[in-house]
């Protein structure tokens, strides 16, 4: 006999947890969600205040870009890609910042470029295979 009210209470709680918030929101047409192939270009440069990212003529600092990339990915399909253009005053260790954010947001195609401001030229940064650092040169 005790089992019935318990199971009813659990069912009620599950309903409250999953059902009510879902039904409370405005009904949205599922077909309105269209995922497109995005080509996102992020320009990164070092300023006095730190690293500054420019995306669609908007400037973001630090974690703001993380949020923006996540929001952009909602409408991105699997073919979408991100290109990070790093100005030549950036450190080599800064190359990972945007790719890490992009992977967290859900992008799988991320390319990094270096931009030489004086010559106006740019080139893709392609790394070789990752090796474990070793003091013994024969093991490299």
């Amino acid at each position: 006999m005790k089992l019935l009210p318990r199971s009813f209470a659990i069912f009620l709680c599950l309903g409250l947890t999953f059902g009510v918030p879902a039904s409370a929101g405005p009904k949205k047409n599922k077909s309105s969600v269209s995922k497109t192939t995005q080509r996102v270009i992020v320009f990164a440069r070092k300023t006095d205040h730190g690293i500054e990212y420019r995306l669609n003529k908007q400037i973001y600092i630090g974690k703001d870009l993380d949020y923006v990339l996540g929001e952009l990915h909602i409408y991105a399909n699997k073919e979408s890609a991100i290109a990070v253009v790093l100005e030549d005053n950036m450190l080599l260790s800064d190359v990972k910042d945007v790719p890490v954010m992009a992977v967290k947001a859900g992008y799988t195609d991320v390319r990094a470029y270096v931009y030489w401001k004086k010559t106006g030229r740019m080139a893709e940064i392609l790394f070789g295979p990752v090796l474990k650092a070793n003091a013994d040169p024969r093991k490299l």
């Binding site: 659990i10 009620l12 947890t17 929101g25 929001e71 890490v100 967290k104 947001a105 790394f127 070789g128």
Partner: protein, 237 residues
């Protein structure tokens, strides 16, 4: 006649191995060859004796296949030879780049990736860190479903374990919110769970799933600890 014979003998020598190198003769080489032929003919002229030709087996020498000389072609044919031939050649195969090679992390999933600063590349397979358009989409994420069900299950275990222990008078309830009948406990605990889950999913919707998931797992562990402890005390005593 003698000259012709000498010439044929020189050709025979050259084909039988004396001139093993088959290279395109240059003009200077051709001149040298002519000189040698004349000198050889002069020597042959002295030592020429009748050969027993009947006993010698006839060897059919392969006639050299000379390509059509450009001089024999008219301008149109020459144009074809020089230009059209190249254009008629099949296109060289374009290199196929594998999906892995073209990826941002060529070593693949589970290996160090240079573009990630040497960190191991693990794409979020269940999309726990991804942003979602709606609350419901975020709730449908397997990670969120798992952690929510674990929290609810652990809460049930806690309430049942505590009640069993209290019924046996082997323990007492410390939490002031949970003092009372079991239905009251459920009435308090489950809406709290619902609120925590709703807030957690809302955070996940905006890509901030780590903190709420950590909170929910910790709460689940605490519930499990007290639930299992209560059941154990009820059974032992």
């Amino acid at each position: 006649m003698k000259l012709a014979m000498a010439f044929s003998v020189s050709i025979m020598f050259s084909t039988l191995g004396l001139g093993a190198q088959q290279t395109a003769p240059s003009n200077s080489l051709q001149q040298n060859e002519l000189k040698e032929t004349t000198t050889l003919a002069r020597t042959m002229d002295i030592d020429l004796v009748p050969l027993p030709l009947a006993s010698v087996p006839v060897i059919q020498l392969p006639t050299p296949q000379t390509p059509e000389t450009p001089q024999d072609l008219n301008e149109e044919q020459l144009t074809k030879l020089l230009f059209d031939r190249r254009s008629n050649l099949p296109d060289s195969p374009s290199p196929k780049i594998s999906e892995r090679e073209n990826s941002m992390c060529p070593s693949g999933v589970g290996n160090s990736c240079a573009l990630l600063g040497g960190w191991v590349y693990y794409p979020d397979m269940i999309g726990l860190t991804y942003h979602n358009r709606t609350w419901w989409e975020a709730m449908k994420n397997p990670g969120m479903i798992a952690v929510s069900l674990t929290l609810i299950g652990a809460t049930v275990l806690d309430i049942e374990g505590s009640q069993a222990c209290i019924d046996k008078h082997t323990c007492r309830e410390v939490n002031p919110l949970m003092r009372g009948p079991k239905a009251q406990k459920y009435a308090v605990a489950m809406p709290l769970n619902a609120l925590v889950i709703w807030m957690g999913v809302r955070e996940k919707q905006h890509g901030r799933a780590i903190v709420p998931i950590a909170v929910m797992w910790t709460a689940s562990l605490v519930h499990m600890y007290f639930g299992v402890g209560g059941l154990y005390q009820a059974r032992v005593h």
